[in-house]
Symmetry: none
Subunit: 186 residues, 4 copies
DNA sequence: TATGAATGAGCCTTCATTCAT
DNA sequence: AATGAATGAAGGCTCATTCAT
């Protein structure tokens, strides 16, 4: 009945966008388990529309996540510099991303069904990139070669959890520490 | 009446213990948001009894957490060795604790009301210990002196999140990396 | 425009046919209360088209029923034989019909609005036929003359209910019993 | 909050009774699929109470049915007379029961889950009785011996469907016809 | 005329919380 | 002090139905 309602047939696409944005906002505000009603309200759409586009909550969460990832230029031409510098730059960008899109890092741990997709998306999209950078850096003898990109990625993700909720927690310092640890010979 | 009164009071104590154990078990099984009914059932007590002892869920979570911390012999005589060794040992023990009592690390981030207590408890009980070890190690020139115990404690806690849910995530490796990072001169 | 108009009109006809068949199929599969969407899908048409042709669900159910009745050659030249034989043959055919189009017998009892039409249709189309056969048989002294075609028709219909859902219920035996009862002098 | 609410702890039993009666009433009025809310309202209780006593709708339906059956003195000493008379008397009583507790006969055909219990209850409680009567009558040479109690029971049940909804449908006449058919030699 | 996206009422179900006993 | 029955708010989900295109 709202203006958005009148839009109808035209932009199904736009609605999906609206929903993704709304969901992202609500997830930050109220967590990944926020009521569907709330997301619908935030989007100015009916609940049915949410379900039409994202049959299960997991679908929505995954879509939001993917949407966010699209924003992260993971493949962007890395800054010039030594392999280690490139690695650092990428990690910083990754941390920026996680810290900005607060809540997402934590959402990764939602034990609910559908979480697998979330995790899989995360792994499939990012790990190859990090893996490459890590290998290059190790090949150049700048970092240890016994650290798995998988663990590092998750570790960094974890370190970012709670940045907005834990008073005065400095995630970046810890990430720096982690990267510093990389340099030390095992 | 005195005898009876004493008996009664000891009953109350016992119930509290039973509840704490039950809650801990249920938290592991079903998360910190498990139904009160389930906790009561696990304890073999009525729901009213749960509420009598712990008016809010936060009270219960905090109590469980404190209870767990009591189990962690944070003040136990540190192993012999260099300050850094002592630090490492303590961190290992801390990680053991968090990984064993799975869910607790994540619970720290529960945005619910009452979370503050949880966090406060955590900080008050553990930070002083870690702070001391860290200072000693730095004073001995074995580690950097620009890392705050607060961040390190939270960082380690974070790194332990998802050990049981993320497939094949090796938290310990990341913790090692973090500690290795400590050694590197800033 | 005439040619186009004619074509259009024939399309409409075709759609109605398609819908009736689809609805019949879905009714069997999922009951008379099946989602409209499902019927539309089965027909390969839009939901709006279903509503255009059959504004209410009752309209659709009645139409399907009428459609089915059209298939039942109630007026087909009766088999040769005594009036009672003819009666039996018709009843058998009727039972075949009901058992085949399962669900329809039960649908007769749907208390919903629009049910009246269903019942009326049933009565108007079939009762006269049965009435005639019954009267002939009675006139020939082969069966009782105190049984109303109306009751008999409904009774037979009822006996067919649940053939597919009640395990091992033999409706035909009961129908035979009913017909046998007709022969006995009151 | 209502007076019924205040009754609390005392009569859990009474509440179950109240619920059974309420459910029976609502089932007649609105079918076996009536909203739980409506049943709760009819009972003057909260919805949660319904769920506490009858976790699934099937549980409730079965309980209502059983409750009704308890009212039918199926084992009551049959009237004196020939075996066939006894049979007739029992069947009449059974028909009375079904016709009085309208809706129940139809409820037997609810295809939902839990229906099995309903059917089973029906079969287990009544069939043995009817079987005995039928056998006695057949042994006395008063009725056919090739009719199964199971079919007869279901047939009679079916014939009672729609007594209140089908205008002027005389179920009893059809039942009489069925019984008459029993006498005729196959 | 046909379509199917959008809407939102309505029902189900779970659980935190109260409070009579 | 302990109990657990009762309550009802809250949120999930499914369709019937409308109506812009």
């Amino acid at each position: 009945m709202t203006a958005a309602g009148r839009a109808r047939r035209s932009d199904v696409r736009r609605n999906e966008q609206v929903l993704l944005d709304a969901a992202a906002a609500v997830f930050v505000r109220a967590g990944v388990d926020a009521p569907v009603r709330e997301i619908a309200a935030e989007a100015g759409l009916g609940m049915g529309t949410v379900y039409r586009h994202f049959p299960t909550r997991a679908d929505l969460v995954v879509a939001v996540f993917r949407h966010q990832l699209d924003g992260l230029a993971v493949d962007a031409p890395p800054t010039a510099g030594t392999p280690y510098d490139v690695l650092r730059t990428w990690v910083d960008r990754f941390a920026d991303f996680l810290i900005t899109k607060h809540g997402l890092a934590a959402a990764l741990h939602s034990d609910q069904a559908g979480f697998e997709s979330l995790h899989a998306e995360f792994v499939e999209r990012l790990m190859p990139v990090l893996d490459r950078l890590l290998a290059a850096s190790a090949a150049a003898g700048q970092t240890r070669d016994d650290v798995r990109a998988y663990d590092l990625m998750l570790g960094i993700g974890n370190l970012c959890i709670g940045v907005e909720t834990l008073p005065d927690y400095r995630a970046r310092n810890m990430i720096d520490l982690l990267l510093a640890g990389l340099r030390v010979p095992a």
